[in-house]
Amino acid sequence: TVGAVAIDREGNIAVATSTGGITGKVAGRIGDTPILGAGTYADNEIGGVSTTGHGETLMRFNAAQRILQKISCHNMSAQEATEAALKEMTARLVGTGGAITIDKKGQIGIYFTSKRMAWAYIKGNELHYGINAGE
């Protein structure tokens, strides 16, 4: 799965997510990626999220919406919300995943409960990237 989240100078947020799914899936299987609130969500008044990982788990947990809910209702930062939601998801449903988040203030969240997740972002003129936990 691949995904992108962007915010511009006016605070407009957009999210895109695309995937081939999961190896060996049954023909006709649909994952979280095209499901709004699971694989993708954007709301200028809260933030934007793109997820990746075990689709059935992310779908059942409504992962993107849960992250945004923690930002809007629990006053968490983008990082805190992304981390808390994904930890809760894996604790309850076993499957792992990751997410990238930008909130309406331009704060970034990056977290995954899988072994690795490739990510990169540009803010200002600086490019940051990583793949292991804590990078």
Binding site: V2, A4, A6, N12, A16
Partner: protein, 176 residues
């Protein structure tokens, strides 16, 4: 507000051998998407551009390089959303199209609906002049090998509940 673009290239049991390709790909994607923003393009244009970059790259499970279903072919899906007006476009069960994300955007912009799937999503893409590629043209050797391993693991009775989206050879049960 300072413009920001962030991308991910998939989560899972990514082996050391695949790390350099992932880094190259996500850095390329974020640069291409951010350039759109810097040049005055919209946030939608920026995220679409970043995702298209990774759909072209076989280091990622999207577009060219997508994983195979149990029948041995690719079915892709994508979604795009704008936070200003909550407009969105989604598509699923897409075959032989390099950029499903662009189909999703077209669903958002050219229909009164949000989500198209299956044969009628493909018919919509045909009407919108998306290039329909031969079915095998998006399939990589890596994806074929991963499906063979998946089937071998099933025969051995290995739990494949969390089948892989990341295509390595060392960890048969890593989570996708």
């Amino acid at each position: 507000m300072e413009p920001i673009l962030i991308v991910h290239g998939g989560a899972g049991d990514i082996t050391e051998a695949r790390v350099p390709g992932k880094f190259t790909g996500v850095k390329k994607a974020v640069r291409e998407g951010f350039k759109v923003l810097s040049d005055g393009g919209s946030v939608l244009d920026a995220v679409e551009k970043a995702v298209c970059s990774m759909e072209l790259d076989d280091n990622f499970n999207a577009g060219y390089g997508s994983v195979l279903n149990i029948e041995g072919y690719i079915e892709m899906e994508a979604s795009i959303m704008h936070g200003k007006d909550l407009k969105a476009g989604c598509c699923t069960l897409i075959k032989g199209i390099m950029h499903p994300i662009s189909v999703a955007r077209r669903v958002m912009e050219k229909t009164n609906h949000t989500f198209l799937g299956g044969e009628n999503a493909m018919e919509f893409a045909r009407r919108e002049n998306f290039e329909l590629l031969p079915p095998d043209s998006l399939i990589t050797e890596n994806a074929k090998r991963a499906l063979e391993e998946f089937k071998e693991n099933q025969k051995k009775g290995v739990d494949t509940t969390f089948a892989r989206t990341e295509l390595d050879k060392t960890e048969p049960n890593g989570t996708g």
